[in-house]
């Protein structure tokens, strides 16, 4: 086993992780900071974000409005102190990225351009065409290269957090290229591993989005918060699940049913106007739009293709010039992957799993209840997203809370002595576990693909856009049995060099843990709020459920759920109103 040490270890090299690493390097240049990632940082899933990043910058807009949009969009489940910090710090974070070279779109006078976005009452979404995440990630990654103090462990897969004396003191990881096991000690660890869309079969998420950080924290005893809130994006391409950005609608695209009718007008989302109207119709929040699709399907007014039901996203009236200037990636994706030119043809779309509102429970500084462990970005739940995240809030969330976690973790690490020697005993135990499980595990018979497919089916049937108690209970039982069957997993590959089958097995085990927390939290939240819709409990219930579900790992059996109240500062729970 290889041993190394650093002061602050960032797990994950996407938007939040890189921002956190820079924050450490800038505020505490004497600390050793490292980024460990199972992929090269520029492969991280931030790269796929398209539409934009929200931050108040234009005259006429206000922090209060951004906060209100976020809180009402989240169906009052957001912690309002966190939202206030978020909207306050987002503009400076976005400007910092501009100073680092991010190619933001511009007004003719050279100032930052903004576009409308779903659920936002003002235009405040900064964008780099429709490759915003790509440009942000590459800008951040290239900027990290100038800090010699930031060390990297590229293509290292973290299998365990080392916890001793009640605090997190590092990780055990597999170096993928060689299969060598490493123990990397750290005084503070920041999880920035992103979401877990791959627990579902149909998702915009990349193959690497397996809830790694969520499961690592959960296994180390930290709770996962609000895991029942899974965002379906209303416009994904059938079969591939490739995301067609919300910007397509903010630039004026229409959603049409099989009769060419803008059906959102039937779902209390406003009246159809030829031009986009803020917080109305196609610019409503994602949860409401995805739910409208299901209702429309039930009425028999969707179209049907080889990959299920779909509706049309019509951009034709926007014209080639606007599409090429502001939505070039949409055109590229449609042409390349479905052979459709959105300038001339309508795009088939359907709701697709996109984002986890829930995640590792943190406070406003990214600190988890486990000392020494921090989390930021999609892996975390602060919570600013509540029961439904607004589009273009997640990228600035990575920056604001990545920076916060980086600074606070650095300050924590600066005060500490070296990790306790006994963590290495744990690391050796973990090395033995990995050896036994994946190298000598012959004779078992379960295959990764089979278990994964059954998990997918279970999640889609029970934890989709509409849920109910019996289906969730059945899913909870099924996931228990999949956990049991996972113990009998067999692998074809017993080698050390870049063993992707071993990685996939570890990822599957992470996903099974995360799936259980989603289902158990959904089962126990007997109300409907935001993206969590229970057909057996169709109303929001503030009396009993204006709170966050915390899922703790139990020694045996399903996760244990505890509740903590939502923090309300200035916006008492109200009705969500769109289009009127």
């Amino acid at each position: 086993m290889d041993l190394s040490a650093c002061d602050v270890l960032v797990v994950g090299g996407g938007g939040a992780g890189l921002r956190a690493a820079i924050a450490v390097a800038e505020t505490h240049p004497n600390l050793r900071v490292a980024v460990i990632s199972k992929v090269y940082p520029m492969r991280s899933h931030t790269v796929s974000a398209e539409g934009g990043a929200a931050a108040v910058i234009k005259p006429g807009d206000s922090l209060e409005e951004h906060a209100y949009d976020t809180i009402s969009g989240g169906d009052w489940l957001c912690d309002q102190d966190a939202v206030e910090a978020f909207v306050r710090e987002a503009p400076a974070e976005m400007l910092r990225l501009e100073h680092w070279g991010c190619p933001w779109n511009r007004e003719p006078d050279g100032s930052i351009a903004v576009r409308p976005f779903g659920g936002m009452k003002a235009q405040r979404t900064w964008f780099a065409a429709d490759k915003t995440g790509f440009h942000m990630l590459h800008t951040l990654f290239q900027t990290t290269l100038k800090y010699d103090v930031i060390q990297r462990y590229d293509e290292f897969f973290v299998t365990k957090l080392l916890v001793d004396e009640g605090r997190c003191q590092g990780v055990v990881a597999i170096e993928l290229g060689t299969g060598k096991i490493h123990a990397i000690t750290a005084k503070a660890v920041i999880l920035c591993t992103g979401g877990c869309g791959k627990v579902f079969p149909f998702t915009t998420n990349a193959n690497i989005k397996n809830g790694d950080g969520m499961a690592l924290a959960y296994r180390a005893g930290a709770p996962l918060k609000d895991m029942e809130f899974v965002q379906y994006h209303p416009t994904g391409l059938p079969f591939t699940g490739i995301l067609i950005t919300e910007a397509a609608r903010s630039e004026g695209g229409w959603l049409l049913n099989k009769d060419g009718y803008r059906y959102l007008q039937d779902y209390d989302l406003g009246k159809p106007e030829p031009r986009p109207v803020l917080r109305s119709m196609e610019l409503g929040p994602r949860d409401r739009l995805s739910q409208a699709f299901v209702k429309e399907q039930e009425k028999g007014r969707t179209l049907e293709g080889p990959y299920g039901h779909y509706v049309h996203l019509d951009l034709r009236h926007l014209g080639e010039k606007l599409i090429d200037k502001k939505l070039p990636f949409v055109r590229e994706l449609c042409l390349k992957y479905v052979g459709i030119d959105p300038v001339k043809e309508m795009i088939p779309v359907r709701p697709v799993v996109h984002y986890m509102m829930g995640g590792v429970s943190t406070d406003i500084d990214g600190a988890t209840p486990l000392p020494g462990l921090y989390a930021a970005g999609e892996v975390a739940c602060v919570s600013i997203n509540g029961a439904n995240r607004l589009g273009s809030n997640s990228l600035p969330e990575c920056l604001v809370f990545g920076a916060r976690a980086g600074k606070v973790a650095a300050a924590f690490a600066a005060e500490l002595k070296a990790p306790s020697p006994s963590v290495l005993t744990q690391a050796h135990d973990e090395e033995r576990r990995l050896e036994e499980k994946f190298r000598r595990g012959r004779g078992a018979k379960e295959r990764i693909a089979t278990l994964r497919a059954e998990m997918h089916e279970t999640m889609e049937e029970s934890a989709g856009i509409y849920r109910n108690g019996p289906a969730l209970q059945k899913a909870a039982d099924k996931l228990r049995s999949l956990q049991e069957r996972f113990r009998h997993l067999t692998l074809d590959d017993h080698s050390y060099t870049f063993n992707t089958e071993q990685t996939a097995a570890l990822e599957l085990s992470y996903m099974l843990d995360v799936a259980e927390t989603i289902v158990q939290s959904a089962l126990q939240r007997t109300e409907s709020r935001g993206s969590h819709q229970r057909t057996d409990y169709p109303e929001r219930d503030d009396k009993n459920f204006l709170g966050h579900a915390l899922a703790y790992r139990a020694e045996d059996g399903p996760p244990r759920i505890e509740w903590v109240p939502v923090t309300i500062t200035r916006w008492p729970p109200g009705q969500r109103v769109y289009g009127r």
């Binding site: 790269v47 779109n105 511009r106 440009h135």
Partner: protein
């Protein structure tokens, strides 16, 4: 359309075999499947030991570059139907050391990328409170194309110069250097020029142009290199003048 198609896939397991071999797998043919879907079918159903990288499956993360029938492509965007009747040959990218099967070692590029200083260099920083650096849409257009590089390494795999002379800094890194040079907010062109006009830099390129042909994002690294040569030549000529380079 055929019911199945054969894939001849390069295998190399350094712990077991001394040299790469080709292994043939029969997979279902589907009109909307790309080569990457077929590889995943193999991994899930036929042979879990096949190793390859992939992630976004939408042509933006840059992970899944391989050679398909001899040409470097993103396998998530290479349809089986474009490569019928088969067998479709899938191999790792050229000119990089092969780690395992279809996985190549990128550490050479990662070192070169850092060498060209792909970040904003400025003599003085303006405080955030003073807002953004103004940049008109035309100024943005001047470098935007070079900023689209996804680091997929197809250009290196297509570059015969890189094949002959591995010290060549290579198309993507040069395009990214040019991305910052052309950015109105940057003042680092001189600093980068010293790196890029050196022995391993732009002058090694004989303008074969293969890099631009295979680029999935139309970055045009060959164009970046030619622009750079011009800048470098002008700079060199200026150093000959009595008042020296500016």
């Amino acid at each position: 359309m055929p019911a199945t198609v054969a894939l001849a896939v390069a295998r190399y397991r350094p712990e077991e075999e001394p040299a790469p071999t080709l292994q043939t797998y029969e997979v279902p043919f589907r009109e909307d499947w790309v080569v990457l879907d077929a590889l995943n079918y193999i991994k899930d159903r036929l042979d879990g030991s096949l190793s390859f990288r992939w992630s976004c499956r939408m042509g933006v993360c840059g992970s899944c570059g391989m050679k398909v029938n001899g040409t470097p492509v993103l396998t998530c965007a290479a349809f089986l139907s474009e490569h019928l009747p088969g067998p479709i040959r899938v191999e790792p990218l050229d000119y990089f050391p092969v780690v395992r099967d279809l996985v190549v070692d990128l550490s050479d590029f990662m070192r070169k990328l850092k060498k060209v200083k792909p970040w904003i260099l400025r003599e003085e920083e303006k405080p955030l409170a003073e807002g953004e650096y103004r940049q008109t849409p035309d100024q943005l257009d001047a470098y935007k194309q070079f900023s689209m590089c996804i680091n997929c390494m197809l250009c290196y795999s297509a570059c015969p110069i890189y094949g002959l002379e591995p010290s060549f800094i290579g198309p993507a890194a040069i395009a990214l250097a040019q991305r910052y040079n052309m950015d109105s907010r940057d003042q680092g062109a001189r600093e980068r020029l010293e790196i890029l006009s050196g022995y391993d830099g732009i002058w090694q390129c004989t303008f074969v142009g293969e890099c631009t042909k295979v680029c999935p994002k139309n970055v045009d690294p060959a164009g970046a290199i030619q622009q750079y040569k011009l800048t470098s030549a002008v700079h060199w000529l200026k150093t000959l003048l009595p008042w020296g380079a500016r």
